[in-house]
């Protein structure tokens, strides 16, 4: 190439670059005249100052699960009062493992988003528009706040995920031996991982809503069938397990296209179930994670389609016991099965039916649809005799072999009385076993540790199946983001405290005493005009409970994002809409600019929006990432007792006045604050403790006197009801006499006196942000 040629080419490149840049701007930001804020695509340390502020209030609390570290070949190192060979000590090690957990969780969501996005782009094209309908202008509040851009089309999400993956790589790198050494910096990185997780979830849910035509936040979405009893066993049954909707959606699409939807039962467990039912409201939901092993053991599923996340890793082994067929569909979980992606579908179907292969890996969702349905149609007849009714005599026979080692009870994560129940069962009494069945989440640990090799989970399943034949419940279809119009309505009463709080029941089923407790918690707050939203397994657990009249809470309470409304947002990735709603309140109601303006938005949420998350059964790394994500926005979360095994909480100290100071941006003064929210991440031992804590944790510095009265009334009420005593820290939340609830005036006044309480001024514009430097200074 001549020199001139090169010059020309370089000019051309320059032009293209500029054009491209302008064009990119143009497309992404059509109709968006908001100026770019300070925090576009923040790098690992860019929000560190904000994080350090949060961490000075909410100090990390570590509960090591193990005294040792076994992460490198210098180990194992005993860190009890000692540093490891790399110089790390116990608290930093805990912070590190929590960061690692959050990285894994975030990777799961990001990979999920990327897998799904690729599929959707293949299906619908790069340019498929992201349009959430007339009632949603702010389609991607998290992306807008974090990236500073808004998505016009599916393809725009690519760069969001690129950013996520880059940041995630940095974060994971910091967990390497010999990198970060300070707990605060670990925690700041953990928040960062959480924020990336939020972005990925949003990308995931918005793209599936747009591309699959799922509900776009409309109120009053249909009810979906839920429960172990909703499946018609006479039909061929396809069970989808996991979180990625693509294969399941293609299955229902295939049955619909071929006019087979009356011939085949498509049902699901975990988030795939919720999301498939958002695609097709006729799909059925078996239930949350806790039902997985039970349902597989029941043998009802002819074909089990596994996608990703929260799948028992022994699905194949368990399925083979019942001659169920397994199809795996993503690179996350291949189970060693032969890759039949490029094989002729009918060939694969016949190989599956003839048992020439144990199952198949098919990385093409559409092909999965075809193969799953065809296979189910053909094998279900042969499997009829497997789906038999449970025989309780067999259970008794097994139980008689118990050698009374008690390992079942000792290894049960919840110390459920399996031992006693088995003794009874040995004598033909099943009520205790049934009780265990109802709260058991079929983790299988009792069975694995049984010294007499009793198939305890199968025994539980049989008893449950016998007595509870028609487990038939209802859940709302997951409706996705909260519409802007709803935000407009509730923004003011929430910020002023008149709606006493938004409670999000999220996460998995590692409950201490069964799922019913979630429903009961939800009910308590629905009755009290809180806004209750739910996602994932918790949304299902709420649906699995019927009141005395035999109806579910979804039927009883309105599907509105308003006082006393109960909304199923959708699957785990729909958790993005919890913070999304809070961001939108800050933006729509309070007119805070959100474009690349993370800190100001989070500061607003922390001080003014009485929202909290409850992940009573949080179990996985994703759950840890989710809590880190909402925490960085300033939204507190409560986990259940098993949540202590995440090894790290973020606790405030209400007895340390100095830590609650706030800047009053209006007056320019530092003023006394309140311990609200008291904690960012707290683990409660019992449902009672959670219920008593929620109204308090929904208190915000900015509440109006009226709002505060409402919140305190609930706090007193519920504390008295569940702990049976007056809350002994109430004085901390009464700023002046106007805050005193009328109904409890006398009691509160007396209490305040006993505590030597003095009134104080409420700040006008409470904030943790620095006072703006005056110009010229």
């Amino acid at each position: 190439m001549t020199l001139k040629g090169i010059k020309e080419l370089q000019n051309e490149i320059w032009m293209i670059k500029n054009l491209k840049a302008n064009f990119g701007e143009l497309r992404l930001n059509r109709n968006w005249d908001e100026p770019m804020g300070p925090t576009s695509k923040p790098n690992v340390t860019d929000l560190r100052a904000w994080d350090f502020k949060l961490l000075s209030r909410f100090e990390p609390f570590y509960a090591p699960f193990c005294d040792m570290c076994c992460m490198c070949t210098f180990g194992k190192c005993d860190l009890l009062g000692k540093k490891g060979a790399c110089g790390i000590n116990a608290d930093a090690q805990q912070a590190r493992t929590f960061l690692l957990s959050c990285c894994i969780g975030t990777a799961a969501h990001t990979a999920h988003a990327h897998h799904l996005l690729k599929h959707l782009i293949e299906k619908k094209g790069e340019n498929f528009p992201i349009d959430l309908g007339m009632n949603i202008d702010i389609e991607a509040p998290i992306m807008r706040t974090v990236i500073g851009e808004k998505p016009g089309k599916l393809g725009d999400f690519r760069k969001v995920l690129d950013y996520c993956e880059e940041q995630l790589t940095y974060l994971l790198s910091a967990t390497h031996t010999g990198q970060e050494g300070n707990i605060l910096d670990f925690e700041s990185k953990t928040f960062h991982a959480g924020m990336i997780d939020e972005l990925s979830k949003e990308v995931c849910d918005i793209s599936q809503i747009a591309a699959y035509g799922m509900p776009k936040g409309e109120e009053d979405v249909p009810l979906i069938e839920l429960g172990l009893g909703v499946v018609d066993k006479e039909k061929p049954v396809i069970l989808c397990i996991g979180h990625n909707v693509a294969p399941g959606a293609e299955i229902v699409d295939y049955t619909n296209d071929k006019g087979l939807y009356n011939e085949v039962e498509v049902c699901g467990i975990c988030c795939s179930a919720i999301d498939i039912s958002r695609r097709d409201k006729n799909a059925k939901i078996i239930g949350p994670l806790s039902k997985q092993l039970e349902f597989i053991r029941s043998g009802i599923a002819d074909v089990i389609v596994v996608d990703e996340q929260c799948i028992r890793t022994d699905v194949l082994e368990e399925a083979l016991k019942n001659n169920s067929t397994v199809i795996v569909t993503t690179d996350n979980a291949c189970y060693g099965l032969p890759d039949r992606t490029n094989e002729d579908a009918d060939k694969t179907v016949s190989d599956l039916i003839e048992r020439r292969i144990d199952g198949a890996l098919i990385l093409d969702a559409e092909k999965v649809g075809e193969i799953a349905v065809k296979t189910a149609l053909r094998i279900s007849k042969d499997r009829r005799n497997i789906k038999i009714l449970p025989d309780l005599k067999e259970v008794t026979k097994y139980a008689e072999d118990c050698i009374k080692c008690r390992m079942c009870e000792r290894t049960c994560p919840n110390s459920f009385p399996v031992f006693d129940a088995i003794q009874d069962a040995g004598e033909g009494q099943f009520s205790k076993l049934l009780e265990v069945y109802e709260i058991c989440y079929s983790c299988g640990k009792c069975e694995e540790s049984c010294k007499a090799d009793l198939p305890l989970v199968s025994m539980l399943t049989k008893v449950g199946g016998h007595y509870l034949k028609n487990q038939n419940y209802r859940i709302r279809q997951g409706r996705g983001p909260i519409q802007d119009v709803e935000i407009r309505k509730v923004g003011r009463p929430i910020v002023f405290g008149e709606i006493p709080g938004i409670i999000a029941f999220v996460g998995c089923t590692n409950y201490p005493k069964g799922g019913e407790e979630i429903a009961k918690m939800a009910e308590e707050f629905l009755k009290r005009n809180y806004i209750v939203v739910a996602t994932g397994c918790s949304a299902m657990s709420i649906g699995e409970y019927k009141d005395k009249e035999g109806i579910t809470l979804y039927e009883k309470y309105e599907d509105v994002f308003g006082a006393g409304g109960l909304v199923n947002l959708g699957s785990c990735v729909s958790n993005a809409h919890v913070s999304g709603a809070c961001i939108k309140i800050a933006n729509i109601f309070a007119k805070k600019p959100l474009r690349a303006n993370y800190e100001e938005i989070a500061d607003y949420i922390l001080n003014r929006i009485g929202a909290c998350g409850v992940a009573f059964g949080a179990y996985s790394q994703k759950a840890s990432a989710i809590t880190a994500g909402i925490n960085r926005w300033g939204i507190p979360a409560i986990v259940g007792p098993h949540g202590t095994k995440f090894k790290r909480l973020l606790l405030g100290r209400k007895d340390k006045k100095e830590s609650w100071k706030v800047n009053d941006l209006r007056s320019g003064e530092v003023v006394e604050g309140e311990p609200s929210p008291e904690h960012l991440l707290y683990a409660a031992e019992t449902k009672e403790e959670v219920i008593a804590l929620i109204p308090k944790i929904c208190i915000r510095v900015n509440d109006t006197p009226k709002g505060r009265q409402t919140k305190l009334t609930n706090y007193i009420d519920l504390h008295q009801k569940y702990i049976e005593t007056f809350p002994n820290d109430l004085h901390l939340f009464v700023r002046n006499r106007n805050d005193i609830p009328i109904t409890y005036r006398k009691q509160v006044t007396e209490f305040l006196e006993s505590k030597g309480w003095k009134p104080k001024e409420a700040p006008f514009e409470p904030s943790l942000m620095d006072f703006k430097k005056e110009e010229g200074r």
């Binding site: 509960a63 193990c66 009890l80 098993h642 202590t644 095994k645 031992e685 009672e688 403790e689 049976e724």
Partner: protein
Amino acid sequence: MMPWQPTTIAGPKQARVANPESVIRMLKKAKRPLFIIGPVIICDEGCDETVCHKAKIRSSCMDIAKEWDIPVVTVGHAFKSFLKEGFDTEPMGIIEIVNLLKDPEWKGLRGEGQHDLVLFIGVTYYIASQGLSTLKHFAQHLVTVTLCKFFHPNADASFPNMSDKKWLKYLEKLKISLRILNQEINTIRRV
């Protein structure tokens, strides 16, 4: 000794196996003990001591606290059961109290200074185990003792795994020994 939940084993350091006598010795040495009582020993049916094992345990705990004048924190929703018996305790979350206990600057339940010995009973096994781990690692200023019928390796000292019957016996013995000790001390004081 194998922990009640076998996997709560956390490393080479294990709790010493305690018995009523050794607990007495530790209590005698302690200046500001604290008693944390959790919901596992609370009978949700609300039965009384004449029929209910849990109620008997609760009653022993109250007696122990009274004998030695140990302030009591009730966690979970254990508070109400004691209230019914007219016994005043401080309701808190287990995580809340553990968090306070790990701060050497905290002034203690009675404002007299951080505690130096903490007795645990009736806290859900695994959350107790996590809390004990926190204290083991990050609260060098105090000694933790569990009086459950489950061996807790993360405590400094723990009752062994045992039957309900033996457990009650241990607690009764503890109560009576404290009473005797008290009488002795009072005698000495009077002299």
